[in-house]
């Protein structure tokens, strides 16, 4: 394996993105709203396209704002459809995000001559190219994506530290939260804003697959292993970082085994590795794993 400076940057970008996603992801999973990440990441397409059409440039800020607004709207619309229309929440999510996605596709195709935006670059991203786009921070030259993602990661961390007990009570028992004066609805939208901002920030750099995978898979791994929320947050960050590092390495190492000369998609591989890690925990976790449980019992019986 040939490791270059570029690879270090890619892994760093992947790790920050994974951690930024895994933190709010824990609350998504606990609130049984895991698919919201998927929905939001598909639904922001029209926001990106509109920001593009209005400003006519690919500059980050308008696109960021446009996408974040549409991301939040996805959550609001889903809430409306499921509340007023009395539609099952999952179905409501599916309806809202597919309609928004379709709208985005049409906007993009309609303006194909004016703007150079392509649904696939939004969805799949291109983490391999992030080291090309550098910016100066003091004496250092750092990939722009790393700066953006690191700030989002810090932001998420701060929000969770500040609102830890509010997020926890609203996720555990929304009715109690509301009766003690922490409106569960407000906390819901705070979480949705976090997810939308994280999703959007991750797009440009790494595409939405990583976001969807990192929002759900590392928190699930962590939840299988611990009974403490704090530990779960920490472990999910570790699992996220691990999938990013191993994912990039696998993207370089694995293809030659099967006779391919080129490396595979890093973002796809990160999601795949996250899935493999989940499989390991699912099967081998000493207390709850499918096999681990049996082995644990066996050892207990022998020592007894």
């Amino acid at each position: 394996m040939i490791w270059m400076e570029m690879d270090t940057w890619i892994v760093l970008v992947g790790v920050t993105c994974a951690i930024a996603c895994a933190l709010p992801g824990c609350f998504l999973v606990l609130r049984k709203m895991s698919m919201m990440g998927d929905a939001i990441s598909h639904a922001v397409l029209p926001g990106l396209a509109l920001a593009f059409l209005i400003t006519g440039s690919r500059s980050s800020l308008p696109m960021f704002i446009g996408a974040a607004v549409v991301g939040l709207l996805t959550a609001v619309f889903t809430q409306w459809v499921s509340q007023f229309g009395n539609v099952d929440r999952g179905a409501a999510m599916g309806i809202v995000f597919t309609i928004l996605f379709a709208l985005g596709l049409i906007l993009i195709v309609q303006s194909a001559e004016k703007v150079d935006l392509d649904a696939s670059c939004v969805l799949l991203g291109n983490i391999e190219w992030t080291p090309q786009d550098l910016m100066n921070i003091g004496p250092l030259e750092i990939p722009r994506a790393l700066v953006v993602l690191a700030s989002v990661m810090l932001l998420n961390l701060l929000v969770i530290l500040f609102f830890f007990k509010e997020l926890r009570i609203a996720a555990f028992d929304p009715e109690l939260a509301t009766t003690t004066g922490f409106n569960a609805q407000v906390m819901h939208y705070l979480l949705m804003i976090m997810v939308a901002v994280t999703t959007v920030a991750s797009f440009e750099a790494v595409g939405s697959i990583i976001v969807i995978a990192m929002l759900v898979v590392p928190p699930c791994c962590a939840w299988m292993m611990t009974d403490r929320l704090g530990v779960m947050l920490f472990l999910s960050a570790v699992f996220g970082a691990l999938s990013a590092v191993l994912g990039h390495m696998a993207a370089i190492v694995v293809p030659p085994w099967f006779g391919f000369d080129d490396s595979a998609s890093t973002s796809g591989m990160m999601a795949t590795v996250a899935g493999l890690l989940f499989m390991m925990v699912w099967i081998f976790d000493p207390r709850r794993g499918l096999l681990g449980k049996k082995v644990g019992k066996y050892i207990l019986n022998r020592s007894a």
Partner: protein, 262 residues
């Protein structure tokens, strides 16, 4: 305003409350004044709207008409004085929190936004856990507790809330004998401190023993008042109707009643 006013000493006053899900009225014209410092049992058949009554008081379900006053003010203003013990099934017990964490949630209202749970409140939570006899289980994850223990954790949380008026939704449902005793002791402690508890209750046989006030509910208030006045054959029949199973339940309950009176 000539609307009947309720003195601040009345913990809970309900006027004209009607609740409807979609178009189906589930509670009709409820009028209640609950005296302070009583253990109040809410009794009635399935579908009588017992839980709905509690939820309507807590603004958790919309009201079609009527008004609820807590110590002479609207519930919104008096939120700090009200504690709520929901049904056990209403939360996900796989949630990664320890028993102590859950109990500490009762103090969140006092701590306020953003501030972490300080040592003082952790101590308070620990004391509450101790009062329900679960101090040794403080750091257990909640899914590792038995059903009765989970119920006691919920009660400890209500204790930590340190409210004046408690709403409890079936705390006695499917609990072991030890828990049942613990809950009763606790209710009496609360009463001795001058607090008022409204408890949704299923088991007619123990009503007499546990509560000093009873609300017989079947979509409307059949009768409410001190247990020995209200918990009688007549009113029970009008609450539960004439089916065989209900009748035998009523009979059993009355036998208990007589035994208790003697």
């Amino acid at each position: 305003m000539s609307v009947p006013t309720h003195p601040p000493s009345v913990p809970l006053a309900i006027d004209d409350l009607t609740v409807a899900y979609n178009e189906k009225p589930v509670l009709w014209d409820i009028d209640l004044d609950i005296p302070e410092g009583k253990l109040v049992g809410i009794v009635g058949p399935n579908g009588a709207g017992k839980s709905t009554l509690i939820k309507a008081c807590l603004d958790l379900v919309p009201r079609a008409s009527g008004r609820v006053m807590v110590y002479g003010e609207s519930y919104k203003k008096q939120r700090g004085k009200v504690g709520y013990v929901p049904q056990r099934e209403s939360v996900d017990w796989d949630f990664p929190v320890s028993a102590l964490d859950v109990v500490a949630m009762g103090t969140y209202g006092k701590i306020g936004w953003c501030k972490p749970v300080g040592r003082k409140y952790k101590k308070l939570a620990m004391e509450s856990l101790d009062r329900v006899g679960l101090a040794d289980f403080a750091h257990r994850q909640i899914s590792q507790l038995s059903g009765g223990q989970q119920q006691r954790v919920f009660l400890a949380r209500a204790l930590a809330q340190d409210a004046q008026l408690y709403f409890m939704d079936e705390p006695f449902a499917a609990v072991d004998a030890a828990t049942e005793r613990a809950i009763v002791t606790l209710l009496h402690e609360l009463k001795d401190q001058g607090k008022t508890c409204l408890v949704v209750h299923h088991d007619l046989a123990t009503v007499n023993e546990y509560f000093d006030w009873v609300i017989l509910l079947n979509m409307r208030v059949v009768k409410a008042g001190p247990t020995d006045e209200v918990f009688t054959a007549e009113y029970l029949k009008s609450t539960y109707g004439g089916t065989l199973s209900a009748l035998s339940k009523v009979g059993d309950a009355l036998k208990q009643t007589k035994g208790a009176i003697k």
